[in-house]
Symmetry: C2
Subunit: 241 residues, 2 copies
Amino acid sequence: MGERLSQHERALRELRAMILQGRFEANARLSEPALAEELGISRTPLRQAMARLVEEGLLERLDTGRCRVASFTIEDIFDAIELRGVVEGTAARLAAERGISAAHAREGQEILASLDRAVSAPGGLDFETYVRLNARFHRLIAEMPGSAIIAREVERATRLPLASPSAFLQGQETVPDFAASLRHAQTQHRAIFEAITGREGTRAEALMREHARLARQNLRHVLKAGPSVAGKVPGLALISN
Amino acid sequence: MGERLSQHERALRELRAMILQGRFEANARLSEPALAEELGISRTPLRQAMARLVEEGLLERLDTGRCRVASFTIEDIFDAIELRGVVEGTAARLAAERGISAAHAREGQEILASLDRAVSAPGGLDFETYVRLNARFHRLIAEMPGSAIIAREVERATRLPLASPSAFLQGQETVPDFAASLRHAQTQHRAIFEAITGREGTRAEALMREHARLARQNLRHVLKAGPSVAGKVPGLALISN
DNA sequence: AAGGGCGTAAATGTATACAAAAAGCAGGCG
DNA sequence: CGCCTGCTTTTTGTATACATTTACGCCCTT
């Protein structure tokens, strides 16, 4: 599947990965010519990519026009997760209020069944599958209300710096109650889905917020576990203090 | 105050205004060379501006790379307003939960007092002042939680296509209960502010959502009033059906 | 007359050139 | 020893050139 993608798109992905992997020190100022040469492209598509990362919040534009890598406090990231829960909660509520299509219902059931198998696999937890299905579940709910705007903004909220639901899963492998935590999350997935199909909008929203709160709790565990674990979480390196 | 701004920023504002004023027909495909010449700039800064408008949702990027003016259904715009209420509501709730600074409290009181004067002016409603102060009030609440991320996302939610609280005020002048509607909104402003200072987060959030619901109701009135009134609302021209 | 193919014209994506502004640095001065 | 000043170097912002791709209209065919 030769997905032909443009230079600025490649640059966007590479730059984002570089930032999230902590390849720049926090607050580092970027040089367009230097980056362009490193990426093997000209400044034009690089600037496009940088502009998008500014929109995402991973880069900050200084008054002079230069860009620097943004740094976040723990509180900032907690806020981003909170906001993600709020926006996703709205999607869940609207889905419940408006009702969902049979196709969505079926796909939700399938994903949940697969997630069940992933968290209680006989040979231990199938981590990679869980991360992938978890993302699919959340995306499905974002699309349920049938609104392009809702879907787009949920997508954005998910990409708020370090608010990604699967971001912190990366570091959880070494956390004590890791498997239990994912089973708990999966329980929440089922509850959210049932609230949606049961047309309980308020409940669906509240449950989705609770789900985000679990993500925040997990982050706290990762941070407590120390830098050796925190280092496994992409982007956690650029947190200031 | 000679605010020196770059070409791409001028282009951004001009293009956004052109789109919102309905200067292009819905789904019109834009030509970079043509627009660049019309704006008197080269394609480079124009492309920057267009990329940002794609992010905002006012333009859509086609698979071929071309851009077209986005068109929205009424439902899309209702969703955008709903989402704005949700995000602003979160700002209000967090402000209440965390408490606000004395400076914020004082500024809120001042704005509310000025708004009171604007809605009950002896020589009739001071409309222009109301629009300006209303924007200040909402921005103040966005900044109250003291979180850069919250402030940024509220700002964004406000700019979601046609979700701006003051967008529909433009068309209300010819709507029957216009003044009464603004007095009602002002009552809500006071209630929201009091909920925040009273540390009632849940109530503050609910009130802010209710406030957004009023905006949606106003939009419905504008639409019912017919095209002569709807034409006064910037951007309403790009609604499909 | 309708449909398809081809050629021309125009659009985008990228690279590069250049001017204005900013940053850094060396040296002198207080 | 620190700080300011002027110069050099770099960086950003913009324009422009060019190649590749896409759109469009015309003509030919059936």
